[in-house]
Symmetry: C2
Subunit: 219 residues, 2 copies
Amino acid sequence: MSKKSIAVILSGCGNRDGAEIHEATLTLWAIHKHGADYQCYAPNIDQHHVVNHLTGNKMDESRNVLVESARIARGQIMDLESFQAEAHDGLVIPGGLGAAKNLSSYAFDGPECTVNPATKQAIRTMATAGKPIGALCIAPAILARILPGITVTIGQDQNTATTITRMGGQHVPSLHGEITIDHTHKIVTTPCYMLDSRVDQIGDGADRLIAALLQLMAE
Amino acid sequence: MSKKSIAVILSGCGNRDGAEIHEATLTLWAIHKHGADYQCYAPNIDQHHVVNHLTGNKMDESRNVLVESARIARGQIMDLESFQAEAHDGLVIPGGLGAAKNLSSYAFDGPECTVNPATKQAIRTMATAGKPIGALCIAPAILARILPGITVTIGQDQNTATTITRMGGQHVPSLHGEITIDHTHKIVTTPCYMLDSRVDQIGDGADRLIAALLQLMAE
């Protein structure tokens, strides 16, 4: 049997303006740990903005989401426009504010957010094909915006949980390293840095999420 | 007993011009997994250059090593100038070309390389204090330049092994996830992406390196 292939959508490189680096890396680690392979993707668009991660201040420069995501992917990354659901058995979206600023406008528009077209297309085609989708941290909000009626977790934050509900989703509270599985829609989510976490707890969440995703592929 | 504190020196954010992201993240993960705490540091200097990780081409911009390293550290990072050996029980330097371009000139000058003064000071004061030091991937070359007579591994690359020897060190070949321990000098090294590796193998190497570092603290 050939290895399962999991697509990973990155949103930049750094938790304040891109993909959260620990969540992204530990997602890739968990995929390999469970004997699967991954292919990273990112949209070829400018970041919403660039944040100095030392000071928290906005920097007067622009960076491209695909180019910066390539740092996490060690150069092995594809433009999300080229995504084909047939090529993969599952899809995962790590968190970080890039999910809420680059892959969607969730950080600014909440329940009325728009989702990047290539991201929306990838999620919809995977869901239509009945293939499982995982999301970490704030990324479940993107899924809830596109796939109404799904059950997800973003941890304990009441405002975000309420917004999930307003978008037509169901929210289940969770703690460090826990996952929520929506068997009907084949969605797995875990809170990661939506809770104040140690890095090994991010690993626990990513590990369980990938294990559940592979299990859903086998069902 | 209070938790052990391990200092981690980052060299940017991305394997081609900074710290290797998987090695850095999995070092932090392993430190937390083994019940210790970390404090990240980086020198407050410009990167040698900025590389587009999608194309491999040099970009016409400049970035600061401390500011970019803050992406991996989620903002919790200190200027390496403020490093005090008394504050920590051990020190780790992840790899990536940032170790060979920003923390030292190894990528350009090989055995005659210079080492960034703050990096040199941190390594020397820890070694003088008898505290263990770990290095991943190409970072052992920096240690070999500063601490003559140490035994390290950088995997299987014969050119790098020869250069280690020319700097007065001893080289032990190693495979994926293996570590080399120099008990006399309290140095632990692991090859990581000096070998063509899967991400879980990087995790294995980081895990074993941190376990050995904590063991050396107890000896």
